[in-house]
């Protein structure tokens, strides 16, 4: 495992979700997400979890990708969603969301710091831990930011998926390759897939019903 051999995927692991979340052109953002999911699959494989890699490729990349494109209306349907997101979020809603996201981040970072610093981790340390944790945290930051900031429902679904991947990376970084970790991630992948499918179907029906792509007048804060 050379340094460059790890740095490149790790860098990509951060760049791809950023691209996915920042892009206002939605088909490209979805493509970026599929690429990111495939990269995640590669990561699982490199971490010695081939079954998880397969699950990520099929569930995370293929099926979720299909669901997202279905949500966009690109897969054989009559009414397409606009490909570009023009929505901006009203400022007053943002504050509570930002606070919630910051609290989440502070908690997560604090706990990881505590675990690493105190050497309290139950599984012995491994080479991959630090890059995994850093990548996971970075991805989580992006996912949280996007979830709090974006207004377009498809972009929020993307944000949720990215956030989920970040949590998975943290999970494996903290707890190693225990069989329990793989079980949790597998369940998480299935949930993310079902959630994405449901969300995409809903988005399509909402759009077909009254042409909207956002939740208008969403109240309260959002974790």
């Amino acid at each position: 495992m050379s340094l460059s051999g790890e740095l490149l995927p790790a860098g990509l692991l951060v760049i791809l979700p950023a691209a996915c979340l920042l892009d206002r052109y939605l088909p490209r953002a979805c493509l970026a997400f599929i690429a990111f999911a495939l990269l995640m699959a590669l990561a699982w494989w490199r971490l010695g979890a081939p079954w998880l890699a397969l699950a990520e490729a099929v569930l995370g990349a293929l099926l979720t990708g299909m669901a997202l494109f279905h949500g966009l209306g690109s897969l054989g349907s009559r009414s397409r969603l606009p490909s570009r997101d023009h929505e901006t979020r009203p400022r007053h809603q943002a504050i509570a969301r930002w606070l919630a996201a910051l609290a989440w981040l502070a908690l997560a970072a604090g706990a990881i710091w505590g675990l690493l610093g105190a050497g309290e981790l139950s599984v012995p340390s491994e080479v991959m831990r630090r890059p995994l944790l850093i990548a996971g945290l970075a991805i989580m930051v992006m996912g949280l930011w996007a979830f709090a900031h974006h207004h377009h429902l498809l972009r929020r679904l993307l944000a949720f998926n990215v956030l989920g991947s970040g949590v998975f990376l943290l999970l494996i970084g903290l707890a190693g390759q225990l069989v329990e970790v793989q079980g949790l991630i597998l369940v998480g992948l299935v949930v993310a897939l079902v959630g994405s499918v449901l969300g995409a179907v809903l988005l399509r029906r909402l759009h077909a019903l009254d042409g909207r792509v956002t939740l208008d007048g969403g109240a309260g804060d959002d974790r």
């Binding site: 139950s122 970790v181 449901l198 988005l203």
Partner: protein
């Protein structure tokens, strides 16, 4: 989920897993052949509560049942104590009632049979998810069950297909998904710190500290979001107001409580001594009681009144945390019993109330409170059911709500935690205010007459039975509470 159990108690385990896994099968059958008669549904499902009763009998005589099963190298744990058994029984009864009510609801609204068929497998899935939550004893099973519950619940919310329902369902979906990620992060921290997922092991190995605290905070955040505890309740009201009546009934009665159940189980195991945090939760409960009551009082539509009342009533459950944390054994015993009695009473009453409200709205054809004028003459049974259910919500005797409030007051006074006494009093008055507001509207005599649509008699009857059950539980509380006490306290 369906790998065969491997347990030391073969018969009991088999019965339990059969009771847990039968509902989805029944749901699939009903999906293929939608039932048209309420009685059929009741008969088909009647064996489930009977099985649970038998299991409860075994628990009462032989103590806790527990076991493990291991799919693919994982070791997953389950346990059935008095509490879990009682909750399972409650779940099955409420699911049966909702299923029967749903048959009548479909008939009364003249919905297309196929359009409604999706309800049945989702209901089955929800039954399994709830059952699993009550008996699961490790975080992985809990995670899977929690997610199954959330997703089936979202699916059920979407059934009406109206714009309101879709928006509300979408918001619920997003909140639920993010909530589950917070939960997963918390699990990751715990797993990292201890390397275990089973509750018993976690209880034994976690030490109080910053990491445990943060993990619990994340878990709690996810669960509070799913349980719609103030201030994370924003998604609940639109969802309840727009869903089909039996779905709102189930959701308000059971689904939000399942998250609370997990929260209190974890709390008692991981951070039982966190007094400040427990008071924080109690404070949130207080705000929920006040805010929910106030909003219910101001709401202009009947189903919104009921939905906001759920927000308020969930607050009472949160008062358990400060009364359990760092208090004497006597106080903890009282609070523990009060919490579960309140939960069960509210579940029965809220389901009855939703059904009665749904029946009223369906029959009047209008959903505003002002349109209820004259219902006391035209729809006395529905209104009576609503009234009986609200007796429990107000905590007036004889009802489970009253007995639970008595216990809570007793615990609060015994512990010297006077703030909760004031909260309970204020909450009761607020509840009475919004409940009697409904009645004032219904008792108005000089109002234009509507055409009242007749409903199948069974719909009112089921709601009435649930409401009566919530009353009977008030005076007959000793049997379940004795089972609870035997099952051991936190």
């Amino acid at each position: 989920m369906s790998a065969p159990p491997e347990a030391s108690l073969p018969l009991e385990a088999a019965v339990l897993w059969l009771a847990l896994l039968a509902p989805p099968l029944l749901g699939l059958v009903a999906w293929r052949f939608p039932p048209r008669r309420m009685l059929l549904v009741l008969l088909a499902g009647a064996s489930l509560p009977l099985a649970t009763l038998w299991l409860l009998h075994r628990v009462a005589s032989g103590g806790l049942l527990e076991g493990t099963w291991s799919p693919g190298g994982l070791v997953l744990h389950w346990r059935l104590d008095g509490l879990a058994g009682l909750l399972l029984l409650l779940t099955q009864l409420l699911l049966l009632a909702s299923a029967a009510h749903a048959v009548g609801h479909r008939r009364a609204t003249a919905l297309d049979e196929r359009a409604f068929a999706g309800f049945w497998p989702l209901l089955g899935g929800l039954a399994t998810a709830l059952g699993l939550i009550w008996v699961a004893a490790d975080l992985l099973t809990l995670y899977a069950a929690l997610e199954l519950m959330g997703l089936t619940a979202v699916g059920m919310m979407l059934l009406p297909g109206t714009g309101d329902a879709l928006v509300a369902g979408m918001r619920y979906l997003l909140y639920a998904l993010v909530g589950s990620l917070a939960w997963l992060l918390g699990v990751a921290l715990l797993l990292g710190a201890t390397g275990r997922l089973d509750l018993a092991g976690l209880e034994a190995t976690t030490e109080p500290g910053a990491v445990t605290g943060i993990a619990m905070a994340l878990l709690a955040a996810g669960l509070l979001l799913k349980a719609a505890i103030f201030p994370l309740h924003g998604w609940l009201v639109p969802v309840h107001a727009s869903a089909f009546t039996p779905v709102s009934a189930l959701h308000g009665a059971l689904v939000v409580k399942a998250s609370f159940f997990i929260l209190i189980q974890l709390w008692q195991r991981l951070v039982p001594e966190a007094v400040a945090a427990a008071w924080l939760l109690g404070g949130l409960g207080t705000l929920a009681i006040l805010w929910g009551g106030l909003q219910a009082w101001r709401a202009s539509e009947l189903k919104q009144v009921v939905a906001w009342s759920t927000v308020g009533q969930l607050g009472y459950l949160m008062l358990a945390f400060p009364l359990l944390a760092g208090t004497s054994a006597a106080v903890a015993t009282l609070a523990w019993q009060a919490t579960w009695l309140q939960l069960a009473g509210h579940a029965l009453a809220k389901a009855a109330m939703f059904m009665a409200a749904g029946n009223l709205v369906l029959s009047v054809g209008q959903s505003r409170l002002a349109d209820l004028a004259g219902t006391s003459r035209q729809l006395p049974l529905s209104l009576m059911t609503f009234g009986l259910a609200s007796v429990t919500l107000m905590g007036l005797p004889p009802s489970a709500g009253f007995t639970a409030k008595w216990l809570l007051l007793q615990a609060a006074i015994l512990a010297g935690q006077w703030p909760w006494v004031i909260v309970l009093v204020a909450g009761t008055l607020l509840t009475a205010a919004y409940v009697f507001r409904v009645f004032r509207c219904a008792f108005v005599e000089d109002a234009p007459r509507h055409d009242f649509r007749p409903l199948p008699a069974g719909m009112d009857l089921i709601a009435l039975l649930l409401a009566l059950a919530s009353l009977a539980l008030g005076l007959g509380a000793e049997w379940p509470l004795a089972l609870l006490r035997e099952g051991g306290l936190p």
